[in-house]
Each structure stands twice: as structure tokens, then as C-alpha cells.
């Protein structure tokens, strides 16, 4: 049995999977929509600690997220958008005998936005958890 629900396909008895999926290192798969929605928060959180380039932001996310797979090309549009929104600030870092690198750091507005996003995320998790808790038999 297969019921089309927009992006989602309800197949068989157990799995509700979107057509587009994003792989996770531990062998689990997550909907790319989830990851796409959460990436700004992940980027802001990663940059909060240190000034990093796009490449290093991705590497740090993969490292901290235990291999969470974000496609390389998606990070730059997001960085430009966050910078345009005033949440990130970029600067060129000169390196001896190497190409200069553009690094990103969090602005004050970015810090506030990150704190708000985290708070909202925890609230969402608190709201969702009771739904997903095992029902008493």
C-alpha cells in the first residue's frame, strides 16, 4: 500500500519517509526538510564558538553532529543570507603563503537570534515529546 501525501509517502506498515532524504552517519536517515530547517541554527551555534570559514563550519558540524551530512553547496547561500540578515559578519583572513580565507563570526543580533532559536527548539521538543511517548496499555 502506498499513499501519496505531498512530499511524504506512507509505505507499508511502519515507515513514513519523505522522497528526499538526508543520510546520517549512524546509518539513520532523516528528511532533508528537517535538516534544511535546522541548518541555520546549527551554523549559528557552530560559529558562536569561533571565527570559521564555510569549509570549516561544515567540517565542525559533521564532527559535532557525528557525521551529519549537509551538502557542501548548501552552506554558502545560507551564509550569505545570514550575513544579509545581520546575524553573521564576515572578514578576510590573510594567511602567509596561502589563499586568503573569508571567515564568519556571530554578531550581537546573531547571538540573540541563536538564543531565541534554541529556546524555541527546546519548547518544540517539549511539545512534541508527549505525542511520541509510548501509550500506556
Amino acid at each position: 500500500m502506498s499513499i501519496d501525501m505531498g512530499d511524504y509517502i506512507l509505505r507499508g506498515k511502519t515507515s513514513v519517509l519523505p522522497r528526499k532524504i538526508c543520510s546520517y552517519a549512524a546509518g539513520m536517515r532523516f528528511p532533508s526538510d528537517w535538516i534544511r530547517g535546522l541548518t541555520p541554527m546549527l551554523v549559528l551555534e557552530t560559529v558562536a564558538a569561533d571565527e570559521l570559514s564555510g569549509l570549516h563550519i561544515l567540517a565542525r558540524i559533521k564532527e559535532r553532529g557525528e557525521g551529519l551530512d549537509i551538502p557542501d553547496g548548501t552552506i554558502y547561500p545560507l551564509l550569505y543570507r545570514l550575513e544579509k540578515q545581520g546575524l553573521l559578519r564576515s572578514s578576510l583572513r590573510r594567511r602567509p603563503r596561502e589563499r586568503s580565507q573569508r571567515v564568519y563570526e556571530l554578531t550581537d543580533a546573531g547571538r540573540r537570534a541563536l538564543a531565541a532559536e534554541k529556546r524555541r527548539w527546546h519548547q518544540l521538543v517539549n511539545h512534541i515529546q508527549p505525542f511520541l511517548a509510548p501509550r500506556p496499555t
Partner: protein, 332 residues
Amino acid sequence: MKRSAVERYLQDIASELPLRRFERRRLLSDMTARVRAWQQSQPSPPTVKHLAREFGSPRNVARSLAKVERARLAAGCRPARRDRASIAYMLARRTFLATIPITFSAICLVHRLDGLRDVGGLLFGAALLLCGAFALVPPDARRMRPGRRPTISPRRRGPIDEYLHAVACRLSVPSPDRRRVLDELRGHIYALQDARATPFRSAREIEASFGRVRSLARAIQRSLTVTLVPREQRKYEREHARWLIASAVALFAFAGLILELVTPGRISLMEPKPCVDAIREFARLLLVAHPFALLWWGLIAAGVRMLVLASRITATCPPDVPRSPQRMTAKA
């Protein structure tokens, strides 16, 4: 004389192409070559319908040709070699046209200064000079300047350059932004390549790991360009622009009155003073040595600022369209 189907088809494309004559000629000559080559392989002479089925309808062909050409130019690519002579000719023609008002204004200015007649002559000369300068710099000269270098030279093409060139061709953003994006992407892709055992062999291989050119360029373009504000949230309407223009005109008129007060008789409102005195007073006004100078400059600056704001509002606001009765009813 009846024209062949190929000629009619190409004529239809030409009439739909929103480009300049020499660009149109070049694109059409390429298209003609393609059509003629295809025609050779056909057993019988094709009809317009056959051609449209093979190459697309004239409107679609024209739109895609124009789109590619615009994207190429927007990406900072050099105009085609064949176009450069035409551009040079266009600039030379404009320069020649500009020299007429400039020369006339120069004569006018020198004559007026020499005779020390009035400020009106000076203003007339300056206006002519502005006209000449306007004729000299066509609005699209910057875009078509032959000396502009492409961001990535197509001459040195590895797979990474090829990929970045494809991205650059699809980006329509200001040059500094484009340079910055391409530098960043280049660094990232080289780092990816260093992390691999073997270098990238083709642009397609990069696409597989970095993302499709089209979607990447579209996402970058979207994130770099200004977000459009919906009409409901717009702060200004065209009505404001009209008020601004009216206010600017009033300010300029007031500045004119001050000018007349300072240099009497120049626009024949007051008893004229000797011209030497008037020029001296005018110079004092310009150099902020006159008691009214600050007020005068303030009025001019405010007027110009209002005109700039009005032009921005006019450029960003959609034109006033009277609402149809049905729509109003529907809304009610």
C-alpha cells in the same frame, strides 16, 4: 518574391529578439548556420512548422537566445569578438553626437563669461554641457564596455574553472559579490579536491559532490539579491513621489528667488545690478562666503535629495493601475 520557410522562420525570431542590432545579427547568423546545416540533411525543403518542431517556436528561440546573451553579459563575460567593432562604432558615434552640444556650450560659456552678461547664459551653457555629457555616456556603455574582463577566463579551463564559470554565468549580482562568491567556492572545491585521492576529472564530478550548477547559482542569487517587499508592506506609494517632486520644484524655485535676490536682475525680477558685481556675488554664494549661501546650498541639496528619493520610489513602486470593479467587489 516569396521568401523561403527558413527565411520566414528567422525573420520571426529576429522580430522577437529584444536586443541591439549587432547582437541580433550575430545571434541570428549563428542560428542561420544551424538551421542551414539541418536543412541540408532533410530530404525535402522544410516548412516553418517543421523548423518550429525541430528548433522551437520563434518566440521561445528568441527568448532563450536573449536570456543566454544577457546572462553572459551579466556574468561579466567580454562581448563577442565580432561585437567589439560595433560597440566601438557606437561609442564613436555617441562621442561625435556629444561634441556638438559640448562645443556649443563651451562657446556659449566663454561668450557669456567674456561679456559678463547674465547668469542665465551661464546656466544655459551648463545645461548644454550636461546634455553633452549625457549623450557621451550611454546608459548601457558600462555593461558593454569592451575592456571588461570575465571573472574567470575561459582560456584556462580545468574542471573547477569550468564549474565556477558555469556558476558565474548564471549569477546576476554585482561584480564584487560575484568575485567574493567565486573565490570562496574555489577555495572550498580545491580543499575538497585535496581531501580526495584523485583530482576532479570533470565538472560533472564536482556537481555530484558540490551540488548542481543551476540550483547552487539560483540559491546564491536568491540569498544575495534584495528581497522584494510585498506591496501591502511598502512604505511609500507613487503618490509620495509626486509630492516629493512638487516639493523639490518649490525648493528650487525658492533657491532661484534667493539667487535673484543675491544677483539682482538675472531673471528680470528686480532692478538689474552691474554684471561684474552680480558675478562676484554669485561666486561668493557658490563658495559659501555669502550670508545666504548656506540657505541656498541647503535648498539645492534638499531638492536634489527629494528628487533622488522620488526616482527611487518611482523605480520600485509598481505603476498605478486602476482597480477593476470585479476585484473591488471581490475584496469587499
